[in-house]
Symmetry: C2
């Protein structure tokens, strides 16, 4: 009988192991994809793309037992050779090739020059050929950084006593209702895809006190803008026993600080590839919705058209104002108008036209919506009634409150938007692995 | 201007902080939900449910400034008092209450006795009242352990050079095709919910070499069994440059070992609550599909009806066989018949009726399907043709191979099933937060 006893040590070495080798001329074996071949006659540079970066290998006629003419870009190969220091090579090392073993070959050359430093093509073309265009190091680096954001979110929240949950994406009813729902047939019953884990995460506050989820949400919105997606990854948390909604903003600030430090520490290589300077989150201003509108109207000489709404240009100007006045990359806008918030939002007891809620703007774009929720059963029923909503489909949600719930609140962060702003991109599709929008359902 | 500078330290203390206090009689403040009240006249025990466990608080008439008659179970309260050691109390400590502040009250008493050690009700009732039934400590503990499994999966794979990805759940076409797809209208175009991130994770091997995803998958299967769900959380990974599919089994074994050690270390409290003894994964037997059938037929005197299929009872018997003969909780079944595997599975070059693939059985139940995939473009085209499948909808997937892909393979683990088996449960719904099955779409 054969037995599995744990991870198999590979014979081929990864970049960190190669870089840690002190001895010059050591015999090594590596694998990788042929990123480029620069053939100069008797010598050729074969640059391998590995998961941690590029590795220069040198082919020498007569020394390397292989005909360089038979080597294709994007082939997967295994190289045996000797490791040397070489300052001009990508990592300061190179391998002088003795043998090449081809593991796999492409059937056709690439339609894009992915080995160029900057991929010189339209967003449309990049998205159409996503599995190819992402082989470019800059394109790939964006999604490594996205990994770091999610990882930072989870690790920070674990450390703060949150429990991770997995809530269903198919349901009979959704959080906010309305028309922007994808509908499907569920064994001959009407069903929807969840716009948000909102109702589930609230219900779980009564169980775990603090919960989070990182998962897909679905919005059938007919927006076709640079900042909207019809499916995106939402970073959600919900926490009980808050003293006020400021606890939520403080927690989000803590997350941003932790995540930025993690990126600086573990994703430095990718930040360098993209020449990204990380924003500061040590000191995030919080300003009332109405006050923010006033400040911007005054400084930029704008008229306030609707005191209960924030236009995208106004958001951008608020971002600019706080950058100019406070050197702030982030700003919390607090006390959003009740009309703009869903039924479960807690109204401000001092002025019910506003709610105990907030948005977080990053460089003038909303990346988070959050706030305190109603925890009192009767207050919730009254709010539903005042909005002309029925209890239908909300039975279990309402029962949760009937049987007791602590004061609580939470927020949701759009992962792709946060990544976009962090990387200074202009279109959220640049930082979405496989975007879904009005026209894009493939690949 | 107000500024957010990071996580706010709460005045109320959590269990770890209370347990770390050396001094007897220290003044403390805590919050929590009233789990039970045991009123004995002049003294009452008020047990608080906190996120880390139970905390005994003692009400004394004349000492506590509150009338115990006004306190309801499931109220959220804040308690001020003095901390003492008390061996008979849940954590060996208790708080003698001076003041009680009620933060929130239920409108009605609970329909279930959640404070009982074992929740004495049917699965059906538990699921109907999920947000309530999970307030029971045993029920809650299951999902803490589920968190540990996912956390172990991610942390282990990060350490092995994997990149986390987020692939779309709405698509034009799905991985395996077939009839078990949920269909929806996507802005007047037909779309499906993904059964698996299979095609996406494969495409990303050409980019990141090693990738993983933890997310929902959707199966419109009309099964109504104890082990099927129509939506579940899949733990998927895919890795390039494998030498054989044994690398995948070795990696999964490494994950199981890491995850079990993590549970032992960080989720001991929950394991104790559920009296779970963790299985062993240091030494997992791997046996060929045909050989396993023979062993079981011989030992348990069964006839082999179909040499290319494995019935659920046969799976269970294989589990029993390896438990009896090797004291093994897990067993890999290798070289599955080609007919039972999708088009992208790599056939065994030595016998194309079988594939270079495997299932992992845990206590006689399949919790993983994995294997090596075809990485050669022409071989993939030939396989599609042999199956009578068209390239339609697979264009970008096939293009990825046309432009070069390393040898690779991967696997998918059903999170809820793995949790079920780990906890010795009989029904996968017991370890699913909000199950979706043929009849259940709510809550």
């Amino acid at each position: 009988m054969e037995f599995m006893t744990g991870v198999k040590q590979k014979e081929t070495l990864e970049l960190p192991a190669l870089l840690a080798m002190a001895q010059e001329g050591e015999q090594v074996k590596v694998h990788g994809t042929v990123h480029t071949i620069r053939d100069m006659g008797e010598v050729a540079f074969v640059v391998l793309r590995k998961r941690d970066g590029l590795l220069q290998c040198v082919y020498e006629e007569g020394v390397t037992k292989f005909d360089i003419k038979d080597l294709k870009e994007e082939s997967a190969i295994e190289v045996t050779g000797k490791l040397f220091k070489e300052e001009r090579a990508p990592q300061g090392i190179e391998i002088r090739i003795e043998e090449i073993r081809v593991l796999s070959e492409p059937a056709e050359p690439l339609p894009l020059a992915v080995s160029k430093w900057k991929l010189n093509t339209s967003l449309e073309a990049k998205l159409n050929m996503r599995p190819i265009s992402l082989r470019n190091l800059q394109e790939r680096a964006k999604f490594r950084i996205q990994e770091g954001i999610v990882r930072g979110f989870r690790d920070f929240l674990y450390s703060q006593g949150f429990t991770e949950i997995h809530t269903p994406k198919i349901g009979a009813k959704s959080a906010e209702g309305g028309s922007n729902l994808f509908r499907l047939d569920y064994f001959h019953r009407p069903a929807v895809l969840q716009q948000s884990p909102q109702l589930y995460k609230q219900m779980m506050v009564g169980v775990f006190e603090r919960v989070f989820e990182t998962g897909p949400v679905f919005r059938a919105e007919k927006h076709n803008t640079k900042r909207h997606l019809n499916e995106y990854t939402s970073l959600d948390f919900e926490m009980g026993y808050i003293d006020s909604f400021e606890d939520l903003m403080a927690m989000e600030t803590g997350f941003l600080q932790y995540m930025l430090a993690l990126l600086e520490k573990e994703y430095k290589k990718e930040l360098d590839i993209l020449k990204v300077t990380l924003p500061k989150a040590d000191h995030i201003p919080a300003v009332r919705f109405d006050k923010a509108k006033e400040l911007v109207a005054e400084k930029y000489n704008r008229k306030i058209r609707n005191p209960f709404d924030l236009e995208p240009e106004e958001e951008a100007l608020i971002g600019r104002y706080f950058k100019e006045e406070y050197d702030a990359d982030f700003v919390f806008i607090t006390y959003y108008p009740s009309k703009k918030r869903p039924f479960y939002a807690m109204d401000d007891p001092a002025d019910s036209r506003f709610t105990l809620s907030f948005d977080l703007l990053f460089d003038g774009l909303e990346i988070t919506t959050g706030g305190q929720r109603i925890h009192d059963y009767n207050m919730l029923l009254a709010k539903l009634k005042a909005r002309g909503m029925t209890e239908e489909g909300l039975e279990q949600y309402l029962d949760t409150f009937k049987h007791g719930m602590p004061p609580h609140g939470g927020l949701g962060i759009g992962l792709e938007r946060l990544t976009m702003k962090l990387l200074g991109e202009e279109n959220v599709r640049e930082t979405t692995l496989f975007p879904r929008d009005l026209s894009r359902l493939e690949p």
